[in-house]
Symmetry: C2
Subunit: 329 residues, 2 copies
């Protein structure tokens, strides 16, 4: 939003129209969709795109933007949308937060989220910035659904079934295994929150299939699930990026445990959420919505790192809060 002072209602109006300046960090699968979501958002402008090799000739849609390998060369960046693979998110976000710039990321290694949030929280507070971590769709928007369902019915179980669809995190993880030239990891729902991973790989020259398959199965991304690895001649022919989720909570209000007249009637509250989506497009859109929330929290002086369940949903949305309440509540 740059730096500005407002000294009258009219100038305030102009100031409030000033757009949020966002940098895109990394221009892979997610970065491309983030750029599109930023272009379409009424309240954002693109400060630039940060790429490792900024001199390389990029795709045509980047011609109108500043491309750099150093975010410090971009002016007045309010928020950086980190589109790096999960394993590089923390170091990337930390360096940006140290410049006092807010960050959002879609870090997706579930068991490590709380600890990473703790470390980025300290850095963000020290530099008066906000980091929204793990703000894709799972973790991300799905996390909000799970929290909401538990607020609706505290007693019970929630299951999240993914797919069928390509898991970007698992695909990147499989691709990073030595001996893999190209990979695709499909998530197949078994039901009740259990999944099978179908991994399709092309082998690098000289790589041994059995060794590579074992290395994939031992990776933290895969080690908890049933995994099949298949050697194929052409991974690209199998790729489709639609994905889906089905979250079910069968639960009661606590009254289900009480010996009252309502006990029988209150058990069996049932909640379901499902979606069918283009995977990187939703990740990118939720990152951009979360970038908006990060900048708003920062403007309120509410610094630190947060997950999506620690943000008020209204802060994801553009426009005036009174209008949003009238339309959505």
């Amino acid at each position: 939003m740059g730096r500005f002072f407002c000294d009258s209602w009219q100038i305030f109006y102009l100031c409030s129209m000033t757009k949020i300046r966002a940098a895109v960090i990394g221009y892979g699968n997610i970065g491309r969709f983030v750029l599109e979501a930023l272009e379409a958002a009424p309240d954002f402008e693109v400060a630039g795109v940060v790429r490792r090799d900024a001199r390389a000739s990029g795709p045509a849609e980047l011609a109108r933007y500043i491309i750099t390998d150093n975010i410090a060369t971009l002016a007045d960046v309010d928020v950086a949308v980190v589109c790096a693979p999960s394993r590089r998110v923390e170091v990337t976000a930390a360096a940006i937060l140290e410049r006092g710039i807010c960050t959002v990321d879609s870090f997706d290694i579930h068991p490590e989220i709380a600890d990473m949030r703790g470390r980025l929280d300290a850095i963000a507070r020290r530099h008066s910035a906000v980091a929204v971590v793990s703000a894709g769709w799972d973790p991300g928007s799905d996390s909000v659904v799970r929290a909401l369902m538990e607020a609706c019915a505290p007693t019970g179980t929630t299951h999240t079934d993914f797919g069928p669809g390509m898991s970007m995190g698992h695909t990147v993880a499989a691709r990073a295994v030595e001996g893999v030239r190209e990979a695709l990891s499909m998530t197949i729902p078994v039901g009740g929150g259990v999944h099978r991973r179908e991994v399709y790989i092309e082998l690098a020259d000289g790589a041994d299939f059995e060794e590579v398959a074992a290395a994939i199965k031992a990776d933290p991304y895969f080690v908890r699930d049933e995994v099949s690895v298949t050697h194929v001649p052409d991974v690209a022919a199998l790729v489709d990026m639609t994905h889906g989720v089905h979250i079910v909570r069968e639960a009661g209000t606590p009254a289900a445990n009480c010996a009252t007249q309502n006990a029988g009637r209150t058990a069996g509250q049932k909640f379901e959420f499902s979606m069918r989506i283009l995977n990187p497009a939703l990740t990118a859109q939720f990152l951009v919505s979360s970038a908006r929330a990060a900048v708003r929290l920062c403007a309120r002086g509410s610094f630190g790192a947060r997950t999506t369940i620690e943000l008020a949903p209204i802060d994801y949305l553009p426009g005036n809060s009174d209008e949003i309440v009238r339309r959505l509540v």
Copy 2:
């Protein structure tokens, strides 16, 4: 939570176990379920129940509680759960906020929510309290779903289909019409967010059916919908309090409007939420979850009135935030 000071880790631990003291305001259909939800919650205790006629012999489950017609007689109330009909919510909540006590309500007249929130906001700020308004399930938890879906896909339309089920707000409104002895309003989904209201009434002695039916159809609760009114001998025989909702958003990320290579693939993101619930039990549970959020915001000095989309979902849930992030994100 009462007033306390902590001077060591151990005492802090004891203090942090101190429960939120909640008063139940009104003991009708919702109030009963609120009491059960409070009893089952690990972090609440019941400060008392406020009823218009506190001397009347109440149901057995109230024997262990203080029953009063004046909240001022209850000690150390942190939050009041207002279980009054919508038309009496504002005056009830305002009087409680003026005592510096937080409130939650399930006010459900959608077009009036934003204005009521504005008025209660001023009162709550003046008295260092928090009011969570319209915190049942619609408005309430459904509002959060709608906001989240829009954050996931900003371009598109959302439809909310209710029922089939008994609408408590509409039933109370129909019952309040002169000439009605007893009423039941059923919500029948036509689809695409359109509903028919089936109103079943017993007439008061001497009342004219046509006049009463016309008065019901002219009520603000009913005036926007197709309404049928049927005279029946016994409304009670028709009552069932299960209800449901189906919220659908068919939408794109903004990229769907751009002439890029991804345009075709990004349109048609689809999100669905559905539930089948015991109506007053969910309203009551979400009120209690929102009461927890109100007390937390108040403890942070974040005073004023908010709707459910202005609360972070984590604040609805009991327990330690780090543990919640590990479990749900």
